[in-house]
Amino acid sequence: ADTSRDVSVKSSSPVLAAFKVFQQELDTRHDKYERLVKLSRDVTIESKRSIFLLHRVTSVPNTEEILKEADLKLDGVRHKIGQIAEELMGEDIYQFHRAYTPGIQEYVEAVSFLHYIRHRRLISLEEINARLVFCSQGAADALSPGSQVLTFHVTPSDYLLGVADLTGELMRMCISSVGNGDIDTPFQLSQFLRQIHDGFSYIGNTGPYEVSKKLHTLRQSLAKVEDACYTLRVRGSEIPKHMLADVFSSRTTLIDPEEGVV
C-alpha cells in the first residue's frame, strides 16, 4: 500500500508526457551549459599562456618571432571560441553567457595585449570581433562556397572587463622594461594606461558591477607605472651631460628634462 497512491498516476497521463518533454529540454540545456564551461576553461588557460609568452618580448632580441608564436597560440584559442559559437548557433547567447564569460574576458586580455605590443594602441571591439568569424563545421565538410558563416560577438561588458585586466599585464610589462633598461616603453605605457584609466573613470559606475571591483586594481597599476616613470625621471636628472653621447646614446628621452617627454 505504500506506493499505492502514486500508481493512480497513469503513465499515459498528459502531465507525465509533458514532463518527459521538459526533462529532455532541461537536460539538453544543462548539457550545453556544461560543454560551454569546459570550452571556456580551455580558452582561459591557453589565453593565459599566450600572455606569459608575450611577456617574453621585453627580454628577447627578436620580438616578431614571439608575436607570431602568440598569434598561433591564439589561433588555437579562436578555434575553441569557434566551437563555442557553434554551440550557441541559433541560441540566445545571453542564456549561456555566464558559462563562457571568464574565457572570453581572458581572450580579450590576451589579444589586446598582443595588439598593444604590435601596434601600441588599444584594439577595438570591432577588430576583436572581426577575427571571430568561423565557418560552421557542418558546412566546412561540404566545402561549398556558400558554407554557413558563424560569427561570435564579444559583448561590450566582456570587452571592458578584459581591457581592465589588460592594465595589470601592461603594468608588469612596464616594470620589466625598466629592469631591462628600456626607457621609452614605460613613458609610453604610462600615457596609455592613463588614457585607459581616464576612460574607466568616465564610465564610472554606469558599467557592469565587476568593473567597479577591478577599478581599484587598475588604479594601483597606474600608480606603479607612474612611480616607475617618476623614478626614471629623477635618476635621469643626475646624468652628467658629457656622458650622454657615448654611454647611453639610446636613452634619448632622458637627455634633457626640460625638453619634456613623449
Binding site: 514532463f19 576612460g199 574607466f200
Partner: protein, 227 residues
C-alpha cells in the same frame, strides 16, 4: 580609433543598456501591480464564503489577464526580442507569479494543470524561444510549484468551509504533479528549492485526506487511497 573614442563608443552601449533596463523596470512595476490585483481577487477563494464564488472570481481574473497581456505587449517593445535572457532577471520574478496566477485560475476552472502552451496564450507570449518573448521552462515550472503550495492551503481551507471532496481531488492532482517533477534533473538552484517545498505540500494534503478518511468524511478517499 583612439582610447577616448573607444571608451565613448562603449559608453554608448552602456547608456542604451541602462535606458532599456529603466524602461523594462517601469513596465515590470505595472505588471507587479496587476499581479497583486489578480492575487487579491483569487485570495478570496480561501474564505469559507468564497467557495461558491469561484467561477465569478475566475472570470474577474481572466479580465485582469487582458491587462497583463497589454502590459507584456508593451514590455516586448522595450528590447530586441533575441536578447530575452540578457534582461531576464528583470521580469523573472513577476512572470513566475503570473504563471502561478494563470495556473491557479485554470485549476479552479478545470481542475487540470495548465499547459505551457495555455500559459503562454493567457500571458500573450510565445512557447518557443525562437518566435520571440517566450515562456521560459524554468519559470513555468516555478509558477506551477507556487500554485502547488497554494493548493495545499486550499485543501486545508476547503475542509474549514465544509467541502470534503475537494482535498481528495487536490491530492490526486498534486500527486500527478509530483510524479512529473520526479522525472526532472534539477540543478541546485531556486527551482530545486521550490521543488523540495512541493514534498511538504504533498505531505500536508495527504494529512488532510487522512484526517477526512479516519473520520469517514470522505468515502472516496478510501477508494482513491487503496486502488
Amino acid at each position: 580609433m583612439s582610447v577616448t573614442e573607444m571608451f565613448g563608443y562603449i559608453q554608448g552601449f552602456l547608456d542604451v543598456d541602462q535606458e532599456i533596463r529603466e524602461d523594462i523596470r517601469k513596465v515590470v512595476q505595472t505588471l507587479e501591480q496587476t499581479a497583486r490585483e489578480i492575487l487579491t481577487v483569487l485570495q478570496s477563494v480561501h474564505q469559507p464564503s468564497g467557495f461558491k464564488e469561484i467561477p465569478s472570481k475566475c472570470v474577474r481574473s481572466r479580465d485582469l489577464f487582458c491587462k497583463v497581456r497589454a502590459q507584456i505587449a508593451d514590455l516586448k517593445t522595450k528590447f530586441p526580442s533575441e536578447q530575452y535572457y540578457r534582461f531576464h532577471e528583470h521580469w523573472r520574478f513577476v512572470l513566475q507569479r503570473l504563471v502561478f496566477l494563470a495556473a491557479f485560475v485554470v485549476y479552479l476552472e478545470t481542475e487540470a494543470l495548465v499547459t505551457r502552451e495555455d500559459v503562454a496564450k493567457i500571458l500573450g507570449i510565445e512557447v518557443v524561444r525562437e518566435k520571440g518573448f517566450h515562456m521560459d521552462i524554468e519559470d513555468y515550472l516555478a509558477g506551477v510549484l507556487i500554485m502547488a503550495s497554494e493548493l495545499s492551503r486550499l485543501a486545508v481551507n476547503s475542509v474549514t468551509a465544509g467541502d470534503y471532496d475537494r482535498p481528495l481531488r487536490i491530492s490526486n492532482f498534486i500527486n500527478e504533479l509530483d510524479s512529473g517533477f520526479r522525472l526532472l534533473n534539477l540543478k541546485n538552484d531556486s527551482l530545486r528549492k521550490r521543488y523540495d517545498g512541493l514534498k511538504y505540500d504533498v505531505k500536508k494534503i495527504e494529512e488532510v485526506v487522512y484526517d477526512l478518511s479516519i473520520r469517514g468524511l470522505a468515502k472516496e478517499a478510501e477508494s482513491v487511497g487503496s486502488k
